[in-house]
Symmetry: D3
């Protein structure tokens, strides 16, 4: 997948969603998973999923952190390069991870953490150099509102279904999921789409109106073909 992932790194999440729409897929952008720090480079990786259910007071305790099914154990199972995607059910009152867990993930060369929930210890998380897409920050720990139940299962995240191994692309416009079977299609079509849009931008810059340009009529199509041929 490495070559395809490299291609995807040059395709904006905006373009990814437009390519997926060609296949009838509208549920691919993870609502709520926005960059904790803006301006970071676009990141791509296979999804490693984490699943939470609501708090049950007898199970969701600091003691649970030492159990075999725990966020700690899940982190040790993460392969280098993966994007950890956590189903926090959109809960914004309990931070699923704090600085210590985030540091450990960075150590294990995880590419990014993506969640429809929030993190805690914001300052420490930012210092840990793990790019994070989330809804924001809260002081309480996950056990204040959530019970961790497992990893690498199908999950919900931000209104999307995520299956382990799906591709995640994340940039300033948020995070999107590409079903595993469509990764090559999106990468190839996306590359061409980015090329076309860069030509459209140059046209708009010289004052061409959009009707007939984007989407293109026959004249625009011809001008684009010429530009593309020249560019090589």
């Amino acid at each position: 997948m490495t070559a395809v992932y490299d291609m995807l790194r040059r395709v904006t999440t905006a373009t990814v969603t437009t390519m997926l729409l060609k296949k009838g897929i509208r549920h691919c952008w993870l609502k709520g998973a926005m960059p904790l720090a803006t301006g970071a480079p676009r990141l791509v990786g296979p999804a490693f999923t984490l699943r939470f259910v609501p708090v049950r007071e007898d199970l969701a305790t600091p003691e649970s952190w030492g159990k075999p099914i725990s966020t700690r154990a899940a982190i040790e199972a993460m392969p280098a390069g993966c994007v950890a995607v956590a189903d926090a059910m959109g809960v914004t009152t309990a931070g699923i991870f704090g600085d210590i867990l985030v540091m450990r993930m960075a150590r294990r060369n995880v590419t990014a953490l993506v969640t429809d929930g929030v993190i805690r210890d914001k300052a420490g998380c930012m210092a840990a150099n793990l790019p994070i897409w989330c809804q924001g920050t809260a002081a309480p720990a996950s056990v204040n509102g959530l019970t961790f139940v497992g990893w690498n299962e199908p999950i919900a995240c931000g209104g999307c279904a995520i299956f382990p191994g799906d591709a995640i692309v994340a940039d300033d416009d948020g995070a999107v999921v590409i079903p595993q079977d469509l990764v090559e299609f999106v990468a190839a079509e996306g590359e061409e789409h980015e090329r076309y849009e860069s030509w459209v931008v140059s046209e708009v810059e010289r004052g061409v109106p959009l009707p007939g340009l984007y989407p293109p009529d026959d004249a625009a199509r011809a001008r684009y073909a010429a530009w593309k041929a020249k560019r090589g």
Copy 2:
């Protein structure tokens, strides 16, 4: 568990939540899961869980209904007497089951269907004689908004964590979950609590004010003890 379940059938869901609060458990009432038809008898059974994630257009199709992991297959795995509890993520725009699936569940002697989502084919579902607790009704099928991913896993339902085998009690006040380890405690304490409340009702009926009665002061405690002794 049969004897304990019989005891629970005489304990209101209101009392169950008060008993669970003694153990520090506040997340036990399934928000949104209300009786489709009011006035039904209280029902009790072990939870059989069903799990949905959001729709992915390439997976959530009528064709998916024929796959090995499908709501159809899940129904065939339900043991008689269980309460089917479905995590529909609170989605109210896609009915997780229609009349045909509900009829089949009734045939298999499922005790009840409980969900934080909605059902479809309301008239047919009501005719099928399977008691249902849900948020209401919608015309679209589950695949319009949801993808089914499995059964008998821990789930979220109405803001609660549900583990397979937990006890579900459902009546006109909604549905509650009792963690498996606390079922005997709740049944025993609940029975005494119901007895006490029935005495309080008789006191209120004869005009006794609530302060000092509920909760009881020493005098009320003595009167209750006498009433209880007499009653045998």
Copy 3:
């Protein structure tokens, strides 16, 4: 106020809101406070307020029910004829009152209970013969989600400000609050408005279109005046 309250009993809540709009008041209908049982007669009374804040686990316990500031003590302070209005902050997961407290309120000749929250022990509450306007039913007790802090203070309820002594009118369209200073205005204007609308209904029944009738043009105004004069 008795005579004015008698007049108000003949004015629909719909008309009350239209009369209040003449005074620039748009926030007067209590969102969420709907009749638990439909078809009851219209009820009117002065507001007796109850105030809850969110649960704090060290304070919101069954033990708190025996303290001086408790829902029990508040009920004993309610004068006959009042409408108890409870600010439950719109919380729908904790029933502010169950059957026993409702029975006691009925005993004390409270006119009605109105809340933007929910009640519990639905069957028992319906049997207690206290008319209730609320968002519905939940099994858990108030202490599961709320802490009671006092009575006869200004409160929020359903998006409205309620001050002790304001008039509450409740019917099948819900519950409305009339600021104390405007009660006489609303009663007098409302009576005339009801008369006018009953004439409009008779006009619509005989096939008159609405433009020019409601609101009336000069011709309609004359016809109405004649009808009113004849009716005496």
Copy 4:
């Protein structure tokens, strides 16, 4: 369209949504538009649209009811048999129509009123014999929260786009919109689908499990063909 509408009257809204999914349409069920009275017959008609925007206090007044662009004028423009569909932006605190307007619509032989908002004067509306699908009831008038801006424009209603002339089908599961170009397709396919489901019901009644039956495998397909042939 009369013949097609007659066919649609025999197709449940649940089936309509399943047929539309075959064409990739998932946004067709009007969230919030539920029957005010249950158990009514299924209704079908072409959409006549009404559009509201939020209240602006200088425009949304009882005086506005006499202006050329008013709900009154819109009602007089409704053709017999149409289904009036009102975009109330999901607002639940202002009733778009009361008993008088509803009476006039019934007089004009409007088939039904469908809205993602609420109505007022519930008792009067129920008496007026105009079937209504809505979110419920509120006492305040439309001008308390909404400004009426026009009719027979494209609108939003319950999360769906509605264009004048689209077909609306409404029953106990709610209301659905069929794009004008797909009405014949849905009617024809829907009729066959209902026939197939009625056979499935008979199979479930005699104890056949769902896997292999719904959706059908080859054996089931053959049994169904035989049943259909026999039935004629």
Copy 5:
């Protein structure tokens, strides 16, 4: 209007809302329309409206971008200096415009884009030098969740009614709408209010408590008059 717009540019949106309250108008601040980049100068212009309804899958497609009623055509109809106000129904999962359309709007000397929805291609939009007030950013295109239906009609935006030609004022506190008939009133009163508040600030700076100062008692009124006279 140019002179009045120049005056409004010196009046904060906070002051605009206080002046409109004098005329009974409380619905004038566009909820959700916040500056994409903070610290920009205050902007003023007449509203040019755009209207979206929910996605209908057969209409909301990339192909629709080439149709006569399209966002592209709407942009070509925008006069220089206008503020484009888009009714996106508060949808946050589909960006109504991306960098290319925003570039074209900047080219056409549009003053600003204001919406209760979101934009996409955030980095490109920020580079295009068109000030934007919105709820944030999403990767998917408008057609993922919305259908464009027209321009220069009355619209809803952020809980307000907007009519073409109303004045829009936008700064760090968000965007407000001034009904066309009230623009001169707000400009004149707003200028005096700003002067008064700047005097109050100087008073607070020298330690004067607020009671008696803001709102002013007679003594404060006199001090202010003196300050104003001196200032000339």
Copy 6:
């Protein structure tokens, strides 16, 4: 309390919530109250409460600002060092305070303003040097949506109960409330917890996996004891 407050200033809000969980308290983080400016130092102080109810148009007017029960009067009652906590019922469309009131609070040496609502005049508020935790900014004044009713009463704020005199701690992760009786416990336990976590960080930095470290097994506990002893 000064010494205890000094200790708390070294304890993160994240740690405070974990310590309170040991006492069974999960409702202690004020949802919505986030820092207006990030990167400020942690602040601690006793809560001075302010209470709003919804707007009533006859009471919530600019004229009300001059009444005895007004936000102005409340500010004059604030003791130096307090944290003003305002119950704005989570309303985000009316700014409870603008720059002038915030300036006066800063003048009176208030430590911080914390609310589940929003402020207005953002630029002026930031310049006034009063740290603020809130949901954001809106142009309209409090009277646009809220009626002020009093101070130093128990309030709701961000889903928590706040009693006057409770300790408030606020930093980049938001604001938390510590019940007055638990302040010493949290300060003492929190200090030790911070020490332990700083050791864990050093362990993670040298590559130690989390299972067995956090929470610690016996080996880790011993290593920590040694580190602590050495550190003195």
